[in-house]
Amino acid sequence: MISVNNLRKEFKKVIKDPGLKGAIKALFRPRHEIIAAVDGISFEVDKGEVLGFIGPNGAGKSTVIKMLTGILTPTSGSCTINGKNPTVDRKKYVKEIGVVFGQRTQLWWDLPLVETYTVLKEIYEIEEDRFRERMAFLNDVLELEDFIRSPVRTLSLGQRMRADIAASMLHSPKVLFLDEPTIGLDVVVKDNIRRAITKINKEEQTTVILTTHDISDIELLCDRIVMIDHGKNVYDGSLRELKRNYGQMRELTFEADSASRLTAESFCKGLKLSDDDISIKNDKNVFTIRFNSDSMPVGDMLNYTLSLTRVKDIAVKDADIEEIIRRLYKEGADKSE
């Protein structure tokens, strides 16, 4: 449904030395540098999928989202939704999408919220009946009733976010882009927003692409994640797969007295494990053993380790999603160096 093909975006950047002196120098003798913020990103998204689009700050996420929403023109490559291309026919393309930028609002700031919806109704040419039906649905999902007559400037951040999501869903888009929809919200409101997103996705088969730095957003919402770093794809796969690969891994960390017999080979032999299930890192007698808890229960692993050596200060840790993502970010960084 959405097809992103070798997308690339370059920015021309003026190199400035720091300070006023540097600024003045750059004014008269600018030196330019071409920076590829997005460097050959490709992925496909199916109808009804919830895709988590993640990456560290400055990875190029927003630039990709802005190209997918028709705001930026790609330097090369293409993105299409149902065959429609924003650089060819922007108007048709944007009718298919709804966009929420967590840090901006598309609501009419000075007027009661309901005014925004009546204007959008005209802009998107929504029929009166359809509009009423739509408002009822969005009201139900996002609970706008309490503040729909209040001026937008008086809304709390959580209310504003719900209002913004409603504004982007009014014209029943097939794809909803959410750029950090839970940023700055408290736990309860985050939960509300997530439930609303799930409901919209389930009831209307709306495809959702969301960027976030919130791990719970990913765990609770996303079927699949695409991770980018330095403008390149780093990971593309289902969350389940990611968890299977990394999620059952546990980490055993301890300081050993004698290191002689603590090698991955000896563990493999002793416990009848395969190479993939275990890895051992030794840093000045501080050992980190990562192992698959599916093939080797934590208790057995502990017993075996204790039988081999005397240990000080032992700790067992889950490799949670956050840890996985941190590792993925790091792997991405290592690869590009």
Partner: protein
Amino acid sequence: MRRAFKIYRILVAQNLKRLMEYKADFLTGAVSFLIDQAIGIAFIFIIFSQIPQLAGFTFEQIVFIYGFSQIPKGLDHLLTDNLWCVGYFIVRKGDFDKYLTRPINPLFHVIAETFQVDAVGELVVGICLMIYSAPSAGLYITPLSVILFVLVIPFSALIYTAIKIATAAVAFWIKSSGFIIQMVYGMNEFAKYPTTIYSNFIKLIVTFIIPFAFTGYYPCLYFLTGENPVFNIGCTVFISIIFLGISLAIWHKGLSAYESAGS
């Protein structure tokens, strides 16, 4: 087209509602605006009473040219004032994103969003000055000249709009072009007086490069003398269409250079 009008009407209504939302501010604005206009008119009379004649034009004729020049300026000011904001901050702050994610023309959208009531001042002053000066300015009145009078005003206004679109669009490349709009727009001061009082260099500029002379002096020359309608009126129409075409091309090119702002 009908749809465009409808959306325009609705967006303008939103803007007026917004103004009314802050009543104290709106009323203060309205009062200060009236005072401003009264002072403006008084000032014009003080200046003109010192120059009974200029470059062969009588006092009334000068007042007529001045009055006429306010009409296209006011029309453009009334309808397209938001272009200033494009140049000053909408692009720089990345707020232009919003216009690009909606299924209507972004230029139309950004223009329709503001209806600058202040401009009524220029229109009122312009009309008053023309009414005041018309009886003794020796106007050339024929059915054709009346038709051309009505016809030429929107084209003159388009010259303003075209210049603003082109200079505002520069912001897509250099992020902020407010001062560029201001500098170029400021040249409209030359439109209020006969170009014959300027040096050839300035005459050349306000005729062909930044053609504000077509928003005041040249059309008036025809209404005052009946001379050379092909140049005075025809060229106004021609130049406004050419300049609008060029500025739309620049704007369009600018859209693909737009870089938004980080978030």
